[in-house]
């Protein structure tokens, strides 16, 4: 094959480089042959395996990053919504609490008014009753005084030697009592 034609070149060249080995044309076919094989091999390796793989990895990563960012955005939105809801709930609760307080106050006031009115009424009733009782007692006392006065008058009359006249005594006592 090609070995025969380049035999002499090959022999004297192995010992020492005469000038530039780059310009030794006898080795060109060898270099070119192996270079073409190497380049084709690299091209096939890259084009068939490596480049599609790296492209898919990069695309996948880009997708993942985009998704993660979108997810983060979503989560942030959710957090904002949650915060809003929380604030709203808080405000609602506060308003409700205020309402309850107001209502309780109103209830208590109503109860208090009721109780006061009832107490007033009771007090009025009691005092009326008491007054009545006092009036009764007073009346009873008057009667008793009149009786005592009559008896005392009768006794006095008897002691003084007179004959007690019941009707006259009664009239005199009544007369005195009136005055």
């Amino acid at each position: 094959m090609a070995e025969d034609t380049h035999a002499t070149d090959g022999m004297d060249k192995t010992a020492e480089a005469p000038g530039m080995p780059q310009l030794d044309f006898s080795t060109f076919d060898n270099q070119i042959f192996w270079l073409v094989i190497a380049l084709v091999a690299i091209y096939l390796i890259l084009n068939r395996i490596a480049l599609p793989r790296i492209a898919s990895v990069l695309a996948e990563r880009k997708g993942t990053v985009t998704n993660d960012i979108a997810k983060a955005e979503e989560l942030k939105q959710a957090a904002v919504t949650a915060e809003e809801n929380y604030k709203k709930a808080l405000a609602d609760a506060r308003a409700e609490a205020q309402e309850i307080v107001a209502k309780a106050k109103a209830d208590i006031q109503a109860d208090l008014d009721d109780a006061l009115a009832k107490a007033d009424a009771e007090i009025a009733a009691r005092s009326a009753e008491s007054e009545k009782a006092i009036a009764e007692i007073r009346a009873g006392a008057m009667d008793a005084v009149a009786e005592v006065a009559r008896e005392t008058a009768a006794e006095l009359v008897a002691v003084l030697g007179g004959k007690p006249d019941k009707a006259a005594i009664d009239a005199a006592v009544a007369e005195r009592m009136k005055g």
Binding site: P21, Q22, L51
Partner: protein
């Protein structure tokens, strides 16, 4: 190799170009087209590195990437961005070809930085094939997409009419110089750096200047690391620029 030669002579001898010799991996025979040579070995290692980074490195397909997957994604994103920015949106469908070139050159360059390694991209045969592939693809693509109006690339309508023929001539010349500069830039950079390191390595055997030489090797090595990446980047971005010309020939 340089060390052996120097030892025999006893004096200071440079063989900075020996590292670029293409030789059979097994035996000492001639180098034929299908001979397995050191070129084969280091090309295969480059392919394995690409496989390791881009396939094994990404095998877990993790959403949160591991270190190797990060690097693979970084390389992907870097080249993709470059193609999109330079060649335009419609250039994106040629992205697999450009990342193939880029990753091959990056790994070939970096593998060449391993001591005792063979740098495949320092050979004009390799870079010329890459550059010619780009040149032919871009030219054919231009004619397929735009037909004969692709030639308007050379006819700068915004220039004064009198200047256009001269500009067209310059444009045509610069267009055909592209593959040459494209390939020699890469091979020249790689070759020069490695040869300089080798020269300093020979100096390191001389006691008086050996600390300086070792320091210089370190410094140049660091520079070469930078150059390795930058040249791959330059090659890829120029490919994108040429591709843009093919896709949008109207200035």
């Amino acid at each position: 190799m340089a060390e052996e030669a120097k030892g025999a002579e006893g004096g200071l001898e440079f063989h900075p170009m020996d590292q670029f010799i293409v030789k059979p991996l097994f035996g000492d025979g001639p180098v034929g087209m299908f001979t397995i040579t050191n070129v084969t070995l280091w090309l295969a290692l480059a392919v394995l590195c690409v496989y390791g980074l881009m396939v094994i490195g990404t095998s877990r397909r993790a959403i949160v990437p591991s270190r190797s997957q990060s690097i693979a994604e970084l390389a992907y994103g870097f080249v993709y961005q470059m193609v999109e920015d330079v060649a335009g949106k419609d250039g994106v469908k040629y992205f697999p070809y450009i990342i193939t070139l880029f990753l091959f050159i990056v790994f070939a360059n970096f593998l060449g930085l391993i001591p005792m390694a063979f740098t495949t991209t320092s050979h004009i045969a390799v870079t010329a094939v890459l550059a010619m592939a780009v040149f032919l693809t871009v030219t054919i693509l231009g004619f397929v997409l735009h037909g004969i109006s692709f030639l308007k690339l050379f006819w700068i309508s915004s220039a004064p009419l009198a200047l256009r023929p001269i500009l067209a001539l310059i444009e045509v010349i610069s267009y055909f110089v592209r593959p040459l500069s494209h390939s020699i830039r890469l091979a020249g950079n790689m070759m020069a750096g490695h040869a300089v390191i080798k020269v300093f390595a020979a100096f390191a055997a001389v006691l008086a200047i050996s600390p300086f030489a070792v320091l210089a090797i370190t410094a140049i090595y660091a520079l070469e690391v930078l150059v390795s990446f930058i040249q791959a980047y330059v090659f890829a971005i120029l490919t994108c620029v040429y591709l843009r010309d093919a896709l949008h020939p109207h200035h």
